[in-house]
Amino acid sequence: MTPQLTTLDRVQASLGRRRRKERLLRASGLLAILFAFAMLGALFLSLISTGHSAFVQTHATLEVYVDPDEIREDRLPRGGFDEVLVAALGRALDGVALDERSTRRRVGAILSNGAQFQLRDRVAADPSLIGQTITLTVPVSDPYDQLNKGAIDPDTPEANRRLDDDQIAMFTQLQAAGLISTPLNWGLLVNADSRFPELAGLKGALIGSAWALIVCFLISFPLGIGAAIYLEELAPRNRFSTLIEVNINNLAAVPSVVYGLLALSVFIGWFGLPRSAPLVGGMTLALMTMPTIIIATRAALKAVPASIREAALGLGASRQQVVFGHVLPLAMPGILTGTIIGLAQALGETAPLLLIGMNAFITSAPDGPLSSATALPTQIFIWADSPERGFASRTSAAILVLLGFLITMNAVAVFLRNKLERKW
């Protein structure tokens, strides 16, 4: 006769298996979260490890004799500025004969292509410098910059690196003479784009992005709030308002590249607005941001308790007086939070800007919303496509700048939400 199994026995027998299952589920969940964290960590680590070196820039400090034979006052701003710099380098380097053209070119290539223009601007601003010796600090060119930052290893075989032994020896000599310094790279923020990585900066992209965001804000903020107030407070509940509502929800999910197609065909093709202009970029971003702002504003308006509306209506206020005098001011913190988050999204948006041509190569900062410009994300895209080694670290640095802006904007939004928003 077999002993009768009670329910308790059966439960107890299965308990181990059931607990194992629970631990498995728990572990998978934790693993999933850790995977996401690890990816985020890898993202930031790789950006910082490649990008940090672009925040400093190798400079050479030279005693430059502004030779009156090469640079004549009556011919300014023309003159042999590159020859003067080569001569200055030659004085700093022992044992390098500058007689041959090829040697002169090799020595000159230590300095950035922009060095001669820096000297030219200084002499052109003050022609009395001609004939004097001045101290000039100029950026070195990209290969030497990489060498100084350790990205080119002198121990690798000569054929596999961009600088041969002689070139490294020249640079070491300059280093030994204390002429090489690596100050903070303000050029990253105050220079416009350039073909040469050591000169390329984000100024044009920052100004372009700023114009686009201003245009985007000026259009999407009033339109978004107006539409949200209409839908939430004033619209009659009928088919038409349902249609608009469905339409706005759909617009929020339309792929961004489709907005680019819209802008290309309507703004540029039909209205004849200029290509690559931040105005067009801002208008496109505004159309994309509007649904976000409408949805956030509606949520903020909904959160204002009905008692406030009823009290105001009871005192004889009209519907609009209720909205503009009471509901809207109370909902404002929520609206602003949503707007800032929407603008942060717009700042990071790339694809539609590519389609309207905001990825042009432009070496000067835009002087208005109608002149050609790039934006921060499109600049990142351009640099990411450039083969020069120096652009890889500059891309990471530009991304860090972009992320810095996004984090600041989101932090402001969170601050606003926590400080100003009222719970009812």
Binding site: L25, A36, L47, G226, N247, L251, P255, L262, T350
Partner: protein, 458 residues
């Protein structure tokens, strides 16, 4: 210069406010009874000036370039014989435009220079005419408002009607955006279908959107069959979902059921950071870290991984979608009534059983909706694949190979200078139409699923 009309209309509105406010205030201080308080009289006048002038300025600015362009084209001498094609005309117009900007290359022919001068003159004329007509309109409306002003005027109702109309117009912009998208896509797609038959586009197995530069060129009549592009998009999307869906769901289950409250308070914002990273950054991450890592892994395993494999692009896209799915699933799980959870636990089920057998099925519609929205995002995602996936359309299901996607093709076809009349650029719009339709259907389906299958407990 473009800003000046807007400054003018602001000044006009302020003036209108001041004039009518003053008039109303002085009447009231004279002892008259007004229907509306003075600020409403001012507001009403300002709003009428503002709306009418804004309407004029916007219509004017939208149309003046088109009209001027048309006038210049009509005034040009008709090009001789074969050169009369639209392309040649566009070229001449582009030249005239750059001449008007002061960019001369060589010596332009006199008639072109003349056309450019005329263009500049038209533009200046248009700008001046706009300013003059704005001023006239503002003054006209202002005097009208001032003349119509009486103590009985229902100025508050008037201004509220106007505000109502303005806010309605704001809503209309949202509708117009959709209409604009549909119109632009359909218009260009129709032009594309005149050059390439629909059956070839939908069922063709080759996608080689080169166009011959010369008539007699070998090799290139171009092929516009979107099948390989579609397959590539699906491969990348499937890889992304294989990464994102399990990870996102397990993360949501853990956060919802098992996580300590303190852990949750840290983990949710961190996941949101992942959602806030711009896609161009993910694209760079893919080419900087993931693609090389995939290749090394492939080498170690003896597999041949393409440098821009679908796997790398899909993996990074999956990472981008994780927070999206997690937050949808977390919301859906939290929306299940507490009673169900309590009931299941009271019957002796473990927390895992409660989750998998009670909460998860109850939240399934919301979760499916979220996953569908993630699918539509993955299909429409652009920058990651532009940077990390390939450009050549290859008909393959192998994720280790390089594939291209719809969005990649749209961007590569349209980057750089584009004319609107060749099948290459029009093909981008045809792809855009398909993309719009597919994502729209998935979005509608997602909303339907959520609404229809949501169990109501209360």
């Amino acid at each position: 210069m473009t800003l000046l009309p807007f400054v003018l209309l602001l000044v006009g509105a302020m003036l209108a406010y001041a004039v009518n406010h003053r008039a109303a205030a002085s009447l009231r201080s004279g002892g008259a009874r007004l229907h509306s308080s003075p600020q409403y009289h001012g507001l009403f006048a300002a709003l009428t000036v503002l709306t009418s002038a804004l309407l004029l300025a916007l219509v004017w600015l939208a149309l003046d370039d088109v009209i001027i362009d048309h006038l210049i084209r009509r005034s040009l001498p008709p090009p001789d014989g074969d050169a009369a094609s639209a392309g040649a005309m566009d070229l001449v117009m582009a030249e005239i435009h750059s001449l008007a900007r002061g960019q001369t290359f060589g010596t332009p022919e006199p008639w072109k220079q003349k056309a450019a001068d005329r263009l500049t003159a038209f533009r200046t004329g248009s700008a001046v005419a706009l300013l003059v007509s704005l001023t006239c309109l503002s003054i006209g409306v202002l005097t009208l408002r001032r003349r119509r002003f009486t103590p009985e005027l229902r100025a508050r109702q008037g201004s509220e009607r106007l505000t109502h109309a303005v806010m309605f117009a704001c809503c209309a912009v949202a509708l117009l955006t959709t209409a604009g998208i549909v119109a632009a896509l359909l218009f260009e797609t129709a032009k594309f279908l005149q050059k390439v038959p629909l059956s070839e586009f939908l069922f063709g197995l080759n996608w080689e959107p080169q166009i011959p530069i010369r008539e007699d060129q070998v090799a290139a009549s171009g092929a516009f069959g979107w099948t390989p592009v579609l397959v590539g998009t699906l491969v990348v999307t499937v890889v992304a979902l294989v990464v994102a869906v399990p990870t996102g769901l397990f993360a949501a289950i853990y956060l919802n059921e098992f996580a300590h409250r303190r852990f949750k308070r840290v983990a949710k914002p961190v996941l949101e950071v992942l959602a806030g990273v711009p896609t161009v950054v993910y694209g760079f991450f893919a080419i900087l870290v993931i693609s090389p890592a995939m290749r090394r892994l492939g080498d170690a395993l003896g597999l041949d991984v393409a440098p821009n494999s679908a796997l790398a692009a899909g993996l990074v896209m999956g990472v981008m979608l994780i927070p999206f799915i997690t937050s949808f699933a977390d919301d859906a799980l939290s929306a299940v009534p507490q009673a169900l959870r309590d009931g299941a636990l009271a019957l002796g089920s473990t927390r895992a059983e409660t989750m998998l057998k009670v909460l998860f099925p109850a939240a399934l519609p919301g979760i499916v909706g979220g996953v569908l929205l993630a699918v539509s995002r993955a299909i429409g995602e652009t920058m990651i694949v532009v940077m990390a996936a390939g450009l050549i359309a290859r008909l393959t299901l192998n994720p280790l190979d390089s594939v291209t996607t719809v969005t990649v093709q749209i961007v590569t076809l349209l980057i750089g200078d584009t004319a609107f009349d060749n099948p290459k650029t029009l093909a981008a719009f045809a792809l855009g139409t398909m993309l719009f339709l597919v994502t729209l259907m998935i979005n509608i389906l997602a909303i339907r699923v959520v609404q229809k299958y949501r169990e109501t407990y209360d």
